[in-house]
């Protein structure tokens, strides 16, 4: 199977590998996929006081396409608001990396990972707001 240059570049030189402190209030963590299916993605975003995503990190267990898809989205979400990041579609990822048809699910998983990280971040901030309101 011939992969695109962009895909190979992301696989060989993955951007933003690593982990952020998942207990931190400004960090949202998404963990999607399943080992038995051969793909697990952990994607984390750190949201600054201005509401922009200032950092993103990933770790992925999966094929080259899964690694490239997650690496790519960490680049894409940085500097975006969480509302903007939420609009990233799996089709954009698949198109950018020229994923072959059998690998489309990798881009779907990457989209799910962003959404899960955003949902986690939102849940944390809602909880924080509620806690503040209760305190007031």
């Amino acid at each position: 199977m011939a992969y695109s240059e962009k895909l190979i570049d992301h696989y060989e030189n993955p951007r933003n590998i690593g982990s952020l402190d998942k207990s931190s209030e400004d960090v949202g963590t998404g963990l999607v996929g399943a080992p038995a299916c051969g793909d697990v993605m952990k994607l984390q975003i750190k949201v600054g006081p201005d509401g922009l995503i200032e950092d993103a990190k990933f770790k992925t267990f999966g094929c080259g396409s899964a690694i490239a898809s997650s690496s790519l989205v960490t680049e894409w979400v940085k500097g975006k608001t969480i509302d903007e990041a939420e609009t990233i579609k799996n089709t954009d990822i698949a198109k950018h990396l020229a994923l072959p048809p059998v690998k489309i699910h990798c881009s779907v998983l990457a989209e799910d990972a962003i959404k899960a990280a955003i949902a986690d971040y939102r849940a944390k901030t809602t909880k924080k707001d509620e806690a503040q309101q209760a305190a007031e």
Partner: protein, 412 residues
């Protein structure tokens, strides 16, 4: 001819996929060459020397193949390969004896061409029992004994598994089949020329052999069909009645010669080559174990051909690992189905967890594998496993002491 130490060009990756196919041994090619050119006769032509010369070559090859498995040359027929041999053996026997017996016993870890043939027969009304295998990949002889009934016409169990290299207890299986009066067919594509085989001592009635797994050409194989007592088969291909009527069609003389020569070389060199490969296999395992933790050999290591390793590198997905190790040509756990995303059915049959099955590679060592290649392969594997583990969330969890099985994963 001097021993060949290297067959690949320096710009080619190191070939570690000897269960998929093997290169034609230069000695084999040399034996074949004249039969492409000036000795081109039809081995079935009886009226001139071109035909006689070709026939003599084909019959010599038949004897060479027969000798490898302790058979009589009259019991060996040429086919296009092990897939055809397996089809012919199973379908041929099933159809011929269908009025008396309609049950076939095989195992879940057979090659697809055996399983598919059995499925096909099931659709036609035959009954098939698919025996499970134990954790080490070997069948349980008592389970086999219990499965064979007076309706069982054929037991088809592979000699050596193509993915995990384990050797089934052929002599014991043959004994049970003989006692129970069922024919015993074995797919020996991965076994012939690699382990000693004797159709008499092992009570084997039918045996499939492949040319290209033993440094012979692709497109040729053989089927051993016992004559005493005589096994009858309905042919798949009819026509001129060649090969005792079991397989019509003009024999491809150069390919037959190649298979024969390959069989003879394999037989002569079997002892020394097995020892050499066992050393390489041990060297590779030792090298990997010295530098990596959490690796696991799938299938029995004792009852195994020395040219095979099937290793799970925990927390690293096999396909991404293969993409990294560009200097090595290996196969993923799911050899035949690399286009699908399913983990190997063979590994699953062993009870290998699906997540571990996804981390497994098949590494095949063979006649042209060198110590240097093994060492290079170890270095490259270690480098990429470490690199991929550094980006694996599962590895991170394992290091933090989190049990991956305790997490409720959402299947997708």
């Amino acid at each position: 001819m001097t021993a060949i130490t290297q067959i690949r060009r320096n710009d080619q990756p190191i070939y570690l996929d000897y269960q998929a196919t093997t290169p034609v041994d230069p000695r084999v090619l040399e034996a074949m060459m004249p039969y492409f050119t000036h000795k081109f006769g039809n081995p079935h032509s009886r009226s001139h020397s071109y035909g006689w010369e070709a026939e003599e070559a084909v019959e010599k090859a038949r004897a060479q193949v027969a000798k490898l498995i302790g058979a009589d040359e009259k019991e060996v027929i040429f086919t296009s390969g092990a897939t055809e041999s397996n089809n012919l053996a199973i379908r041929g026997v099933a159809e011929f004896y269908k009025d008396r017996k309609n049950h076939i016993v095989t195992t879940v870890t057979e090659h697809k061409c055996v399983l598919d043939t059995c499925r096909h027969l099931e659709q036609q009304g035959f009954e098939v029992t698919y025996l499970p295998v134990q954790k080490n990949g070997l069948i349980d002889l008592e389970v086999l004994r219990a499965a064979v009934t007076d309706k069982t016409v054929l037991v088809s169990i592979m000699a050596v598994n193509n993915e995990i290299g384990v050797i089934q207890p052929l002599a014991e299986i043959g004994k049970i089949c003989r006692e129970k009066k069922a024919f015993f067919h074995t797919d020996a594509a991965q076994a012939a020329g690699k382990i000693p085989l004797d159709v008499e001592a092992m009570n084997i009635d039918l045996m499939s052999i492949s040319g290209h797994k033993i440094y012979g050409p692709k497109g040729i194989g053989a089927l051993y069909v016992r004559r005493k007592p005589r096994i009858r088969l309905v042919p798949l291909i009819v026509g001129g009645g060649q090969e005792r009527g079991f397989r019509s069609g003009t024999l491809p003389t150069p390919l037959c010669v190649g298979l024969g020569e390959a069989a003879e070389i394999a037989m002569k060199e079997m002892d020394a080559e097995s020892k050499r490969l066992a050393k390489l296999q041990a060297r590779m395992l030792k090298g990997l174990n010295a530098k990596l933790t959490d690796i696991h050999v799938n299938g029995d290591l004792e009852h195994r051909i020395p040219g095979n390793l099937n290793i799970g590198f925990a927390y690293v997905e096999g396909e991404s690992l293969m993409m990294g190790i560009k200097g090595l040509s290996v196969s993923s756990g799911s050899a035949c189905t690399s286009a699908s995303l399913e983990p190997s059915y063979v590994l699953r049959a062993l009870g290998v967890e699906e997540d571990m099955a996804h981390t497994s590679l098949r590494i095949g060592l063979g006649r042209f594998t060198t110590e240097h290649e093994v060492d290079t392969a170890v270095d490259e594997l270690v480098h990429h496993v470490n690199k991929l583990r550094a980006m694996s969330p599962l590895w991170e969890m394992a290091q933090e002491g989190i049990d991956i099985k305790s997490i409720e994963w959402a299947a997708h």
